[in-house]
Symmetry: C2
Subunit: 468 residues, 2 copies
Amino acid sequence: MIDFLTQCRAIVGDAYVLDAPADMAPFLTDWRGRFTGKALAVLRPGSVEQVAALVRACVSQQVALVPQGGNTGLVLGSVPDASGAQVVLSLARLNSIRQIDPVNRTMTVDAGCILQQIQEAAAAEGCLFPLSLAAEGSCTIGGNLSTNAGGTAVLRYGNTRELCLGLEVVTPQGEVWSGLRGLRKDNTGYDLRDLFIGAEGTLGIITGAVLKLYPQPKASITALAALPSPAAAQQLLVLMQDYCGSSLTGFELMSRYCLELVAEQFPQLPKPFVTPHAHYVLLELSSSESERHAVGLLEQAIGAALERDVINDAVVATSVAQSADLWQLREHIPLAQAKAGKNIKHDISLPVSRIADFIAVTGPQLDAAFPGCQLVCFGHLGDGNLHYNVAPPVGISNEDFLANQEKVNRVVHDSVVSFGGSISAEHGIGALKRDELAHYKSTVELNMMRAIKAALDPLGIMNPGKIL
Amino acid sequence: MIDFLTQCRAIVGDAYVLDAPADMAPFLTDWRGRFTGKALAVLRPGSVEQVAALVRACVSQQVALVPQGGNTGLVLGSVPDASGAQVVLSLARLNSIRQIDPVNRTMTVDAGCILQQIQEAAAAEGCLFPLSLAAEGSCTIGGNLSTNAGGTAVLRYGNTRELCLGLEVVTPQGEVWSGLRGLRKDNTGYDLRDLFIGAEGTLGIITGAVLKLYPQPKASITALAALPSPAAAQQLLVLMQDYCGSSLTGFELMSRYCLELVAEQFPQLPKPFVTPHAHYVLLELSSSESERHAVGLLEQAIGAALERDVINDAVVATSVAQSADLWQLREHIPLAQAKAGKNIKHDISLPVSRIADFIAVTGPQLDAAFPGCQLVCFGHLGDGNLHYNVAPPVGISNEDFLANQEKVNRVVHDSVVSFGGSISAEHGIGALKRDELAHYKSTVELNMMRAIKAALDPLGIMNPGKIL
């Protein structure tokens, strides 16, 4: 294989073909540290043309490649397998913002741009790029697109898919598809854009994108509502949307156990209620008018919810600063979990109308199988997306409990599917959930996916072993 | 071919296999009356299973089929060719609303439901299904999905693509793919849904869909602004979105000539301004709060636009009734055109920031090639979508002028493409624009589209001759 690496060095220069183990190490282990693969080399192209030339080299030698952005994925989609025969193709050096068009409200970017860099560039033009998630300081937009990342702004602005108008892709043949359109309407043939979005690099390599920008809201205000049940949370969502329409930009469910975990691990954070409640919803309202308008509208809707007994109590932030404090409670749940020890995580989605039933049915099923197990149930209820994590019963170590992962997954995912839900809401499939996908998807759907994969990537060199 | 039709009759019953010329006639001519095809038969299945069985019959005899909804398409996508060897498969009998879920804000429908039926069913539950277009009383949602229809609500709610969460499709093999998911987030493999949306029945037959519903706005209020130029309209759009965010639900550009045409053909309609202006924008603002809120916000934004000299003058409707009057002016443009005689139509889109430049450059190019030709330029400027229609110079008959269609198309479409635009914004490709598509799309993109078509429909029986 000397020839192949010599070819790669000729394309990108010696400095950008890493094959020493120490140099490759940061590219081979996944974000959560669950798996370390091996690679023939890590390739770091500096231009779209170099990406295309590297793919052509891979084609000529039938070397499989793993595209990688910030390597912050949670499903082992961006690390190579254990064979040592694959190369990692890092997009990190393609990190320029190519153009901002504030009138068209679009930004054209390289795939390797960090999400936060894009958010800041938009803000500098008075615009909002709404995609926001925990890894925003390290993840790249190419990775966000390839996994169709979700995050905290989906309720109002949609997933990454909905925030993209056009793509530039290097095909499995090493050709460049220039689909960098900044158009809100374009009905000229098959929707290739959405096929590459969420394909996790198995159909081609996204090298650039045209992103949608939005006007910056004038103010975002939050409230924390205390509720008796997830069913009440569903009612509250309908009520809030009827009152506030698209001004409702966040709707996050948290169970009592979640906030107790946060209080235990981060005692310095505020405790908004004196007595505990069964469930909480963090609401965010954004106004294109003013802080005063946002506060007024939120108070009015919360008032109606109290009057109709949908909620037990509520704290409304009266300033942007107070709003940030309330968001901290939500953001510290995953951190509190990490401090408390590993648990069995699920990233699931359901029709919003089925969430309460799902929670009511699945908890007892888990408790029957694993008596005393603890549920850390929180998430983007407005999108039907729950992070439904299972922690060990008191007295059982986290490590020991992890041995039950497959059995726990089966209970949770069977229940999800029975309620018409999805086993991967926003994290994707990667290598981690490939078998689960094969287990739950219909033959008709799997066959169509395989036919498309074979048609676009007949040699199977694009991120093999991921998704399919 | 007796055997084939006998097979079809066994599947759907004699009454639903039409082969008498008089019975078939309504299914063979396109909406604008430009083309009449021939068919072996018109098949009218009454269930998804019957659709699948008919497709299997087509497969076994290698008979090509043309799926048809309301047959209101504008690009010859839903009528058969002249061979007489194809069958029309009408979805019109699949017209049940299967389920409405007001908490999940979704509706599950058969593909043959009329758009207006869906709008009304949503309204009866206090919800909005925002898709709205001129043919809404006759077009079906299956056709809307297959052509990714646009319409007047795209600025706020997106195209039909953005209004669909899940699909049920009969594949070219006659299998049923049940992808009727009502999920806002689902990252489990390739986005087949968006591949079938906009594919104009060339990859499979959409038989059902899960649609997104929205809260009904409390009030929608319009204003008509008078402006010196399209550049001012671009500025106004930015200003209005900064002031009103997603409350801005309509932004329609109309040239002076458009409103003169309306005044001439429909003298009974209101004339909002005493003296004429070069351009007009119809603005619509929807509030989730109240009519008073909508009027106040619109007046405030219009006031700012006047103060900054972005617009010359404006009329703000102070009630929902007055708003309807202003919308009538916009809606009567196509009707006035039809009364004035046929012209050469273009359904184009551009980055919003390039519209003024496109108009400034293209008009003189057309005038140089066809001195005195008249431009009927109007459309959804907020989406970058113009209906850019060319009428004959005074003294030349409409029929004579139509002979120049190809030359006119070349001038307009070359200019569109040079500004990064699309030659089909919301109407699709069908048979009408197939050669234009082949002319303008890159080889890389066409090859990917052909590979996908061959992979999913290897026999080529699904609506052949459309798109590709």
